[in-house]
């Protein structure tokens, strides 16, 4: 059997060849976009080969045992390796600080008001932040417009802590949201915090929790938005904050 289809020239074949680099990058908001594996873009070709080899071995083991632990572990280990490389030299990290702003609790947490802030992109149905003026933007649309999100300042959604969970929505162009749709407490733990108030661990919750999409202009967030939000929390009477990222 010929390796080259009849009538196809060598030049045509070469034009359709996908390089390993193109293959890796296709998982990063490309033709094979998968936010759980977008990190493959940041591997070298050799590392990508190692990843595929390890993942296939893990899948083979799973076929015999039915235990997917090896598959999950492989995905997890390579995620860590890729994201560490993604930032490059730590000395060149643009948001590196030598100081550590920190305050001690004025009183025990059991007597304090706690506020929940997440960068998960949660909001309440009917109070959509409408990015770029778009009504009911889907998760897929948010992923497709990730470049625009990364240039814009984030907006802060307010969420009553006694919200009916069925009214929670989540959308974020930068990470896979399926897990949070299945169970919002994966990253927006209102129920657990409410239980901790009942159990006396937390004094009270700020009646308002906050969420934003962390896929945003980091410069705008740092210079103007974050200081405004922090002052808003102070005005709320917040005495401690739990932040949950993606």
């Amino acid at each position: 059997m010929s390796e080259q289809p009849e009538g196809e020239t060598e030049t045509d074949s070469a034009a359709e060849t996908e390089t390993i680099e193109q293959l890796r990058q296709s998982f990063w908001y490309g033709s094979r976009s998968n936010l759980d594996f977008k990190y493959l873009k940041d591997l070298s070709d050799a590392e990508f080969g190692d990843f595929v080899q390890e993942m296939l071995a893990a899948v083979s083991a799973t076929m015999d045992t039915g235990d997917a632990a090896a598959v999950i572990d492989t995905a997890y280990r390579w995620q860590i390796q890729a994201y560490r490389g993604h930032l490059g030299d730590p000395n060149d990290f643009p948001h590196r600080y030598e100081d550590v702003p920190i305050n001690a609790m004025a009183k025990p947490l059991a007597q304090s008001r706690l506020t929940l802030v997440t960068s998960s992109g949660h909001f309440v149905d009917g109070d959509d932040p409408k990015p770029f003026g778009v009504e009911s933007m889907t998760q897929a649309e948010a992923e497709a417009r990730i470049g625009e999100f990364l240039r814009e300042a984030p907006s802060l959604s307010t969420i009553p802590v006694d919200v009916d969970v069925s009214q929670l929505r989540v959308r974020h162009g930068g990470y896979p949201t399926a897990s949070m749709r299945a169970d919002h407490q994966v990253g927006f733990p209102l129920g657990h915090l409410t239980d901790l108030v009942t159990d006396g661990v937390i004094g009270e919750l700020n009646p308002t929790a906050y969420s934003f999409s962390g896929a945003a202009s980091q410069v705008r967030l740092k210079k103007t938005v974050a200081p405004e939000w922090a002052q808003r929390l102070a005005d709320d009477g917040t005495e401690a904050v739990l932040l949950v990222p993606i």
Binding site: I72, Q218, L243
Partner: protein, 85 residues
């Protein structure tokens, strides 16, 4: 990274704060000079635990809140590995 900017700003107005951080970004708290961080051995997108794993989610939240007692910078790892339900 975005949470890091917010956490620093919150501390700068005088409010104690603690953040959770998945291991893939576990190097960020030190680089950004964050006050208190709990690093979980969870994949990105599942910071507190797997869907349906309320026991793990609550344990992570409690472990993070316990760090608020520290008057000094503290960055520690939650010991338990990820467990899908």
């Amino acid at each position: 990274m975005s949470v890091g900017h917010v956490q620093r700003a919150i501390e700068q107005v005088g409010i104690p704060a603690v953040s959770v951080c998945v291991k893939a970004f576990g190097h960020i708290p030190e680089l950004m000079g964050l006050s208190r961080s709990l690093i979980t051995q969870h994949p990105m997108g599942r910071p507190l635990g797997a869907p349906g794993d309320g026991e793990r989610q609550r344990a992570v939240v409690e472990a993070a809140l316990a760090l608020l007692d520290s008057p000094d910078q503290v960055i520690v790892e939650f010991a338990e590995p990820y467990r899908p339900m």
